[in-house]
């Protein structure tokens, strides 16, 4: 309130007084502060970006240029031969498809379980509800390395080792608690009156979910879908333990053991890494906005 009242007065004063009135000392201090912050900010950017830039540079180099001394940052001539080799590699292509299938299936199931569970926890009270909510939270913090042995036994027992359903099942463990928590937070903020009106009109529960709740929650569903997709896309430990051979191997495992008889072809490995990173980069740049919108818009929109 006070800020809003001060601002016009400040602007007025600045318009009346010539800017020269600022003393040299003040100017020095402001610019000294800015210079310091810029320097530090650039240092952080360099630390974050230089490794990535080196990876991109490697991916664009010819086989010989990769090992040049002293190191060359800007490849000349730049080449796409590494990318071509990656796309022509049948093993990498099949692992790419595996990752895609698993990530999409996991996302779809996580959304279904998430919507139902979150709605149940948000709108209903029943014995055992709090215990279940705590268990969810605990499942979220559960260390994955601890569960690989029991999961291995389970998948063997269900005869799901090295299959898509088996992988989707174990991936869900890392995803569904977060999906439920995120959606529950969103549903808690939707005014109940809309649903009551729908019930008055004779909506059944499935109709209510499908025709009222899901359309309102689209931003939150998008955020959850993106989160699930990325976690499944990046998953490595479960993929490593519960697949064997090439048939169901996802991209993460394929890249981790990207070695052939000639050793590691770094150019190709970096090109494949860039391809694998793209969905994550796209999703992160969209999802940040989605998350904010999902959280702020939901309550008002109905």
């Amino acid at each position: 309130m006070s800020l809003a009242a001060d601002a016009p007065a400040g602007r007025l004063r600045a318009a009346v007084d010539p800017p020269r009135r600022r003393t040299l000392r003040q100017l020095l201090r402001v610019w000294g502060h800015r210079l310091l912050i810029w320097t530090l900010a650039f240092a952080f950017v360099a630390f974050s970006l230089l490794p990535l830039a080196w990876g991109v540079s490697t991916a664009l180099k010819t086989k010989e240029a990769v090992y040049a001394f002293p190191p060359v940052w800007i490849p000349s001539p730049a080449t796409l031969e590494n990318f071509a080799a990656v796309f022509a590699n049948p093993a990498l292509f099949s692992s790419f498809l595996n990752t895609l299938v698993i990530a999409l299936a996991t996302t779809a199931i996580a959304l279904v379980v998430g919507v139902l569970g979150a709605y149940g926890f948000s709108r209903y009270r029943f014995p055992g509800r709090d215990t279940l909510l705590w268990s969810l939270l605990f499942t979220k913090l559960f260390p994955r390395v601890v569960v690989i042995v029991p999961f291995f036994v389970t998948l063997r027992w269900l005869d799901l080792m090295n299959t898509y359903p088996g992988l989707v099942l174990v991936y869900l463990m890392a995803i569904f608690p977060v999906a439920i928590w995120m959606l529950k937070g969103f549903f808690d903020n939707i005014p109940i009156e809309i649903e009551e009106a729908a019930i008055m009109d004779g909506c059944s529960l499935p109709q209510l979910l499908w025709l009222v709740v899901i359309p309102i929650s689209r931003p939150a569903l998008a955020a959850v879908a993106m989160y699930s997709f990325i976690i499944a896309w990046n998953e490595f430990l479960f993929a490593l333990v519960f697949t064997n051979g090439l048939s169901r191997r996802p991209l993460s495992v394929a890249l981790a053991f990207f070695i052939d008889e000639n050793g590691i072809r770094w150019g190709e490995l970096m090109a494949a890494s860039i391809v694998m990173s793209l969905p994550a980069l796209v999703v992160f740049s969209i999802a940040q906005k989605m998350l904010v919108r999902g959280l702020s818009e939901g309550a008002v929109k109905g």
């Binding site: 990535l52 001394f69 002293p70 190191p71 149940g120 709108r123 019930i199 490595f236």
Partner: protein
């Protein structure tokens, strides 16, 4: 709260409320009130049972058994597996390495994340898009980050050593991942790099909620930059720092991808931590009994962290409430 408590009755199509029901209400009435809720959460409950309860029980059971493969026939052996772990000369160094790793990760990520958050919270023009660039390492898949750093740290052809040689610092060009003295440091740098932007975002979100009036008032009272940080910024970050600490401890204990890809736990077990030991005992040596006992021990450690987390967050809440009162 009261609004949503009233909902089940309304959503249940006019079923009487809990309080109005006679003590021995019929099953039908109960079902009408609770049934839809149970049906909705049923898939989640199945997953919780399958993904949390069952694994815990199975691990506990295996940890006191000898498991024969491939039939999974189990023989009860009491605490033999635990005795074997505790009497092994490898266990103490394993625990020490795990501690060094977790402490290294926590210190690296939180100090860098805090520093970066302070820099990008200074509201200096031109730093907003720089912030977007700093976040990038956190967004790429862990497998990609690990391979990237493995390539950078290569002894002969890695860009780090090649640059050092080009600058005439030949003696600094070490065998980073191949020598037991430097391997731990190298993997901590790689894993810290991938995670510090997340800590930065956590802290930034909190910093933006600190009222600017506090700083202005303190500045008028003649406080210098350090005092502003020490007496305003740091206290308001206390709860978020605790959250970051817990999350990073769990993340450190849980980490697997980076270590397996960069060093595989080597050289000479220099980067072998508890989680990798579980994996190697279970799926390298196929000793599921000992692997389960190792899991139980680690599980206890995580449980302690979880309890500590609960206590810390409750303390933070109390502090906030008292601060408001």
């Amino acid at each position: 709260m009261s609004l949503s408590r009233a909902t089940p009755g309304r959503l249940g199509g006019g079923a009487p409320r809990e309080a109005d029901l006679p003590l021995r209400q019929s099953w039908r009435a109960r079902w009408r009130e609770w049934g839809p809720g149970y049906m909705l959460v049923a898939p989640a409950v199945v997953l919780i049972l399958l993904m949390m309860l069952y694994p815990v029980l199975q691990t506990l059971y295996f940890s006191v058994s000898r498991v024969q493969l491939p039939s999974f026939r189990t023989t009860f052996v009491g605490l033999d597996n635990f005795a074997r772990i505790l009497s092994s000369p490898d266990t103490l160094p394993l625990a020490q390495r795990t501690l060094v790793w977790v402490a290294g990760i926590v210190v690296f990520r939180i100090s860098l994340g805090l520093a970066a958050a302070l820099v990008f919270n200074a509201r200096v023009p031109g730093t907003v898009w720089l912030r977007a660039l700093v976040i990038l390492p956190w967004t790429i898949p862990s497998v990609v980050g690990a391979n990237l750093w493995r390539w950078i740290f290569q002894t002969d052809s890695g860009v780090l050593n090649q640059s050092l040689r080009a600058w005439g610092l030949e003696s600094w060009a070490l065998n980073w991942l191949g020598s037991p003295d430097t391997a731990m440091l190298a993997v901590i740098v790689a894993y810290g790099w991938a995670g510090f932007p997340f800590v930065m975002l956590l802290i930034l979100a909190r910093l933006q909620g600190v009222p600017q009036e506090l700083y202005e008032a303190a500045r008028i009272d003649g406080a210098n930059a350090w005092q502003l940080f020490r007496y305003i910024t740091l206290p308001s970050l206390k709860s978020v720092l605790v959250v970051a600490l817990i999350l990073e401890i769990v993340s450190g204990l849980n980490s697997f991808d980076t270590l397996v890809i960069m060093t595989g736990g080597g050289p000479a077990k220099a980067t072998q931590i508890w989680g990798l030991e579980i994996y190697k005992t279970g799926f390298g040596a196929f000793n599921l009994g000992v692997a389960s006992a190792l899991s139980v021990l680690m599980f206890i450690a995580v449980l302690v962290v979880f309890v500590f987390y609960g206590a810390a967050s409750r303390a933070a809440q109390r502090q906030r409430r008292e601060g408001l009162a």
